[in-house]
Amino acid sequence: MGPNPQMPPDVPERAVPEGDFRAADDVQDFLINIGPHHPGTHGVMRLVTRLDDEKVAGLDVRIGYMHRSLEKIVENRTYPQVIAFTDRTADYLAAMHNDWVYCLAAERLLGISVPERAEYLRVIVTEINRMASHLISIGALGLDTGAPTYFLWCFEARERLVRLLEEICGARLTYVYLRLGGVIYDAPPGWFERVRGALRSVIDEFPSYRKLFHDNYIWHERSKGISTLTPEEALRIGAQGPVLRSTGYRWDLRKDMPYSIYDRFDFDIPVGTTGDVYDRTEVRVDEMIESAKIIQQAIEDIPEGPFLADRIPRIPTPAPGEAYARLESPRGEIGCYLVSDGGPKPYRMKWRGASFHNVAMLPALAVGYTLSDLINIVGTLDPVMGDVDR
């Protein structure tokens, strides 16, 4: 095979020139390849790193090891069937959020209105899922910094929350719980009381977490002042979600562009000050407490009534058009763009995953810090590689 005739001969085929990572002759830089199967990378992500002594001098993120062609699959499925794919092919640690953003877009496209009770149930399960996702995120940081006990504690707390989701929908990770026009099951008897109890037990353990990990001298040494970020710089590199909030910039779609019924709840947006690894973790812990507040209010206000809109066609065919929906997932803003050509299947779906934008920030955050800090920094970005590659 000769050279590609359509490609001008002077343009290199790779966007990132190899020369950046080649060790210069006069300095002691060297290239090290981390991944794709490195336990600290939170997924199959490959980091081509240029090290100057122990410090990271350059970084290139290589992705695509977990591509499952979500957007193409969706073009061959009917609208209700897509829900089975969004919650496992995209961000599987926050599956409810993915289902919801798809449902928001599809319901907008189809003109379906959701009953009140279903909206509240969606809020409750989604916030529980946000807490479960954050617990994995901060627990994995313990694993990264050599504190596996903390990881197990977080996982045990998450287990209590996942049990709640298992009770309401029968699944623990890939809940296909949302449907177009509502949710598939009502809450089982006594579920709301159990939610209250589980939330209380999880929140009550936070002081002991603090004693074990967050106030630990080692963690302070490993996190404070590491990978600091200013709000201006954060906006420039496209930060969102907890990373943006940790810099002190107050931005949360639930508050600033309320979707569903989030304008009815009273809750705060926790923010940090310096945007370093420590603040990003603290923001997540505070967010869990705010999520618990939202759930408490939702349980108090939840009305009786249907939980699934009736007369939803089994194979809906929306009018030709397009719809976009976005919401705040634990990792930042996710979005779903749907185009219909009037047929029973989406003509096109575009998925905006938060993790993709998070790993794109990694070079800007990690350069200048040591190789051991790099693992922490990846951990605070909390990437789910399924959401990066889709």
Binding site: T78, C169, A171, V176
Partner: protein
């Protein structure tokens, strides 16, 4: 060697013991987790399983004698095992059993089965408003089963091949004598049930022929009078006595009926017409719908037209506007206050009227009838401004816009009036509107031994509701005569419970190849609307031989907990891991193949949600490990595997 160095080990040891003591009294740092295995949630999503499949079994028939029917329905209802068509029917006619028997070629058995609950199957096959078809689960796939037309098809075979009256199953003869007032559908239904229970029954009818409104009000083009006569003759052969031309209250008093009989069932219906008291309503040429239809149906040839305005948008209004075209009218207009979509008439009636040339005047109400020389010369109509108030309650408001139409006849189809003066002063209680009061579930009145049946008990409703109510009244009469408590252990007739309607509709899924057995609904041929107006022939012409069979094998035979190979699960699966093949010879329906690729399953539960017979469920197997990979291929036998857990997990409907 100093004292300190000698003491040092002892001090250390003491400190160690102190520390040990502290540890013993302080709460443990490690957590103890419970040793017992975690309980699975009732909604746990494990591998699929089937509760049962349809396989070489006799067709499902829900049948019981009149005395046992209520118990049977109560039991089935508690188990949530009523087929939707049967629960949707006010008289609980077993349409599924009818379809299964017709599919097996057993038309006459099907006819007799329907007659158990619907005494005039063929008549209802012409004129019923088929509530069963509204809840038919086949409409999730394409079109509902033509249950009503099948009633008629069964009758035609029965009429052609086996003219014999239905058999009397209950051979108990009881000496008590029951009087039934009115030979309409409700009266005949009550008489039929009572005669099957062994009582002597006499039906008193004002007219010279039986049938009630079936012969006096249902237009000729909708119902063949020969069918009514034949079916009622069959009832008479069972032993029901008819006494025609007896007007209770005039020819015989209620007191005398009560004295001569052990119980009296009043099924007199709403037989009076109603005319709105607007200016000019007493002019010549103003009809009430009942009077007009009576004159048309009884061959008195009412002179209307040539331009006719019918007031009212219900079924009766359509009957009047269409009948007027057959009585010499050249222009038939129907004014109604509702808009076209909100008309209370059945859609098929309205479209039939439009085909025949009826002009609909939507959202116009009557204002004044213009009279010349004591005769109707025209009508002034007023435009409707709004029909509902802000809270959605009915509140009719007219605007200032009026129009005048020239016409020679005005027919009011605005409801019916009671004609039960013989009940007044007898002890039966009446409400403020002058309607007789009775217990809604039993039909018993305040007067001992007098029961109401049909429209009198329920208010003017449909024929099948009247028949369903009459069955209840017959049971009450039996209990009254036997001295049993009327309501004990008895449930009111099962109307569609919520679980029939929970599945969303999918009209004509465009994406999938057509559903296997039967194909689309077999439509009954209709006569040419322009011709039938002149000749007066029937609208529906009946199926040619064989079409009924083609329609009946479309029935999915909704049985609870039995797979009927409807293939909905295979279509809804996002991973294409289910393959179902049904085998339908007409005489037998079975599930030939049910293949499930367990490896591909993503446990989304879509198949469980759509399963119309509640047989497919995600079992609560937690550890689905197998020794070999091929074991993950589940065939029909493996899908029917016995369940590990002693108490089966309920699915989302809470079914056992």
């Amino acid at each position: 060697m100093s004292w300190e160095s000698l003491l040092k080990p002892w001090v250390g040891m003491a400190r160690g013991h102190m520390e040990t003591l502290k540890q013993m009294v302080s709460p443990p740092v490690t957590r103890m987790y419970p040793k017992e295995p975690a309980q699975l949630s009732p909604r746990w999503r494990g591998p699929l399983r089937l509760r049962g499949v349809m396989d070489h079994e006799p067709p499902p028939v829900t049948d019981a004698e009149p005395l046992g029917f209520n118990d049977l329905m109560t039991e089935l209802h508690e188990q949530r095992r009523i087929a939707p068509c049967q629960g949707g029917c006010p008289a609980n006619v077993d349409a599924r059993g009818q379809n299964a028997l017709v599919a097996a070629g057993r038309y006459i058995e099907a006819y007799n089965l329907v007659r158990r609950r619907n005494v005039l199957p063929a008549v209802l096959g012409y004129v019923c408003n088929n509530p069963c078809e509204d809840v038919c689960r086949r409409s999730f796939l394409d079109d509902p089963i033509a249950i009503r037309q099948l009633h008629r098809d069964c009758y035609e075979v029965y009429d052609r091949e086996a003219r014999f009256p239905g058999h009397l199953e209950n051979l108990v003869y009881r000496p008590e004598h029951v009087a039934v007032i009115g030979a309409g559908p409700a009266g005949i239904a009550a008489a039929y049930d009572l005669v099957q229970m062994g009582y002597r029954v006499t039906v008193y009818e004002r007219e010279r022929l039986p049938g009630g409104l079936l012969v006096t009000s249902v237009p000729l083009y909708r119902l063949d009078r020969k069918v009514v006569a034949q079916e009622i003759a069959d009832i008479a052969e069972l032993g029901v006595e008819f006494s025609f031309g007896v007007n209770v209250g005039v020819d015989i008093t209620l007191e005398r009926l009560r004295a001569e009989h052990d119980a009296v069932v009043v099924a007199a219906g709403y037989t009076g017409g109603r005319v709105l008291p607007i200016p000019g309503h007493e002019a010549e040429g103003v009809w009430s719908a009942i009077d007009f239809l009576y004159a048309y149906c009884m061959g008195e040839d009412p002179k209307v037209g040539p331009e006719v305005v019918v007031i009212g948008g219900g079924d009766v209004g359509c009957d009047c506007s269409r009948s007027a075209l057959r009585c010499g009218a050249t222009l038939s207009m129907q004014a109604h206050v509702e808009d076209r979509e909100g008309m209370p008439a059945q859609e098929v009636e309205v479209s039939g009227a439009i085909e025949e040339g009826v002009v609909l005047l939507s959202e116009w109400g009557p204002d004044e009838i213009l009279v010349e020389n004591g005769k109707v010369a025209g009508i002034r109509l007023r435009k409707v401004a709004s029909r509902f108030d802000a809270s959605g309650k009915w509140d009719l408001k007219y605007s200032d816009e009026v129009t005048e139409l020239a016409c020679q006849s005005v027919i009011f189809a605005v409801g019916q009036r009671l004609n039960v003066d013989f009940l007044k002063g007898s002890g039966v209680e009446f409400d403020a509107q002058g309607r007789p009061l009775c217990d809604q579930s039993t039909g018993a009145t305040a007067l001992d031994g007098v029961f109401l049946a049909g429209d009198l008990a329920t208010g003017p409703r449909t024929i099948i509701i009247a028949i369903g109510q009459a069955h209840e009244t017959a049971l009450s009469v039996h209990r009254h005569i036997q001295g049993l408590p009327l309501t004990e252990g008895r449930r009111p007739p099962v109307h569609p419970p919520e679980y029939y309607l929970e599945k969303p509709y999918a009209p004509n899924p465009p994406d999938f190849e057509h559903f296997g057995p039967g194909g689309r609904r077999v439509h009954m041929p209709e006569s040419n609307p322009r011709v039938r107006v002149r000749t007066g022939e029937q609208v529906e012409l009946g199926w040619p031989k064989g079409d009924g069979h083609r329609e009946a094998i479309r029935c999915m035979r909704c049985q609870t907990h039995v797979c009927v190979a409807c293939t909905l699960c295979a279509r809804v699966c996002p991973d294409n891991c289910i393959d179902v093949a049904g085998h339908d010879t007409g005489f037998e329906r079975r599930v030939e193949r049910y293949d499930f690729m367990m490896e591909w399953c993503c446990f989304c539960g879509f198949c469980q949600d759509v399963c119309p017979t509640q047989t497919l469920s995600l079992a609560a197997d937690f550890d689905y490990a197998e020794r070999e990979r091929r074991e993950f291929f589940y065939d029909r036998e493996k899908m029917l595997r016995p369940f590990d857990k002693p108490d089966e997990m309920p699915n989302k409907d809470g079914l056992p």
